[in-house]
């Protein structure tokens, strides 16, 4: 396995659009993430966060625009690229009938992870599931599953980590642990892109924040005040009357698109 | 939308009527067709062949005619909608 961190150190989403029939899930989205930073992706439900993560994970084809891993596209990098991406989806990618250990074992083998045994032991340790490693996953609570799914996604030491709502179902302690884990990933040089609703936990964790609104990218201004306030400001500045509505003809929409980064 | 649908329904009824009428007219004429009577060999057959040939040809024609008609309707609808959307695209948004 040659998948190393050296593969790529930046993710560039360039002018990506994705259409589902007439519906524009993503509209000219541009975003860059560098190694060693955590980028938070905010926005209301159905704004296109999951679609954007799917495009970055090579799961969903962009209708227009391109995604660069380092300086190359997915098609040039081939199957091996998928071995450098770790995805925690909305659905957890776990087999309910298998035990926690068997799930990790299976995906570890599929990704051909080196030092598998010690890695799995460490992953179970991280998820604080060591004593329940032999239980089938469908007996776990949502929070436990979420913890296991995260470790499954990180098992092969990916260079790009894509997380879709990683805090759902986690209690405060687990959320804090997750934040610690993500910081460790960042410090180890991974690119972390995370879609979340949880401003309080994300505040102070993310290095940069962006928000999606009806498939469009809006920058969240950097500042010293709380993330939630800045997010609210980003929404209201764009369309003063109806912040959540998909007002395509809002006067500020065009200018906000270029304000990214 | 309802107006358009009513419009379509009108077409459907007209089409069905034409089919039924032409079919009835053809059925009324078929036995008197001198084509069949002029060929004495056919009369001896246990099962008259004319209805079979007639139905076969009528079906082939009807199927093609229906398909062409349907295609024409779809084309017209798409073009109308396209013109409308393009117009909306060019006019400045409210």
């Amino acid at each position: 396995m040659t998948a190393s961190r050296a593969g790529f150190d930046a993710l560039h989403v360039q002018d990506v659009s994705r259409l589902y029939g007439r519906r524009r899930a993503l509209s000219h989205v541009t975003l860059s993430c560098r190694a060693g930073e955590i980028v938070g992706l905010f926005g209301p439900n159905g704004a296109g966060k999951s679609t954007l993560l799917g495009v970055c994970a090579t799961m969903i084809r962009a209708t227009a625009g391109r995604v660069l891993y380092g300086d190359r596209e997915a098609r040039e990098l081939g199957d091996a690229l998928r071995g450098r991406i770790g995805v925690l989806g909305h659905d957890l990618f776990l087999y309910g009938d298998l035990t926690a250990r068997e799930n990790l074992e299976f995906f570890g083998r599929l990704y051909d992870v080196p030092n598998r045994r010690s890695r799995i032991a460490a992953a179970l340790e991280h998820a604080r599931l060591t004593d329940r490693a032999g239980d089938p996953v469908n007996r776990f609570s949502r929070g436990l599953r979420q913890r296991l799914a995260l470790e499954r996604a990180l098992l092969h030491d990916p260079a790009l980590v894509l997380l879709d709502e990683p805090f759902t179902g986690l209690d405060d302690e687990s959320a804090a642990q997750l934040a610690v884990r993500l910081r460790a990933l960042r410090d180890a040089g991974a690119i972390v892109l995370m879609a979340t609703h949880d401003f309080d936990t994300a505040d102070g964790l993310v290095d940069r924040a962006a928000c999606l609104l009806a498939g469009r990218m809006r920058a969240i201004p950097a500042g010293s005040d709380r993330l939630r306030e800045r997010y609210r400001r980003a929404l209201t500045e764009a369309s003063p009357t109806a912040p959540a509505a998909s007002s395509a003809f809002a006067p500020g929409a065009a200018s906000a698109r270029h304000a990214d980064d | 939308m309802t107006a358009a649908r009513r419009h379509t329904r009108g077409w459907w009824i007209a089409w069905a009527l034409t089919l039924v009428l032409s079919g009835a007219a053809a059925a009324a004429q078929a036995p008197q067709d001198d084509f069949l009577l002029a060929k004495p060999g056919d009369i001896q057959e246990s099962l008259p062949a004319t209805p079979f040939v007639f139905v076969a040809y009528a079906f082939a024609w009807a199927a093609v005619a229906f398909y062409v008609f349907w295609m024409w309707r779809r084309l017209a609808r798409v073009e109308k909608e396209l013109a409308e959307v393009r117009g909306r695209l060019q006019s400045p948004p409210r």
Binding site: - | V53, A56, Y57, V64, L75
Partner: protein, 222 residues
């Protein structure tokens, strides 16, 4: 595409003129000795079957191109061809039993390989259309896979059905046709092929129009 657009009226005129003349030629053609008048279904039946077969092959090739290149045009052609398979296949499936009822005494004779293979193909491409209609977003890619299978299977279905219906020896009727029958057959064959060509182009354009409509809607939302 522009050439194709200009071809449509030409093909349509040719088809209409030839189809208008065809009944007289068919009427003038001699009777077949054992089947008599009913054998004249043949002059529309066989060309329709050939059009259906050709359209199936066109659909398969277009689907292959679409799956590799992801060109929208290829997908539109595939859809148009699949619809032609269903329309002309239906003509074959209705006229065939009418002929069979008179000639063999039964509406449907499973022993006839050609009728059976037409039924299988028709169902396959009807399934293709069902998938595109009800499969939801992205079903055009899935349908392309079905079409590739369908087209690749045509010769095998033909072969296996031939083995299956053992009773009757296969004879290639068209090759041994007397010249008085061959000429009207060729005439109607050409007419129906011209018609189907025009229909194929028109249907492709309809689909392109729909795609443009989707684009326009997406642009409006922008």
């Amino acid at each position: 595409m522009r050439v194709a657009t200009r071809l449509v009226p030409v093909l349509l005129v040719v088809a209409v003129v030839m189809l208008a003349r065809a009944p007289f030629l068919i009427d003038a053609a001699p009777y077949e000795s054992t089947m008599g008048l009913v054998q004249k279904i043949f002059y529309f039946h066989v060309p329709s079957a050939l059009v259906a077969m050709t359209s199936a092959i066109v659909c398969g090739i277009a689907s292959t191109v679409f799956l590799i290149r992801r060109r929208r045009l290829a997908d539109h052609v595939a859809l148009a061809a699949a619809e032609l398979v269903v329309v002309f296949g239906l003509i074959v499936l209705v006229t065939g039993p009418l002929w069979a009822r008179k000639a063999w005494g039964a509406w449907w004779v499973w022993q006839d390989a050609r009728l059976t293979i037409t039924l299988v193909m028709w169902m396959l491409f009807a399934g293709y259309l069902l998938l595109r209609r009800f499969g939801g977003a992205g079903s055009e890619v899935l349908a392309a896979a079905v079409a590739i299978f369908g087209t690749a299977l045509v010769p095998f279905v033909y072969w296996s059905v031939n083995i299956w219906r053992t009773q009757h020896p296969t004879t290639d009727v068209v090759a041994t046709l007397p010249p008085e029958m061959r000429w009207p057959l060729r005439w109607s064959m050409l007419a129906i092929f011209a018609l189907s060509g025009a229909l194929l182009i028109l249907r492709t354009q309809l689909e392109r129009g729909r795609a443009e409509l989707e684009d326009a809607y997406a642009a409006v939302e922008e």
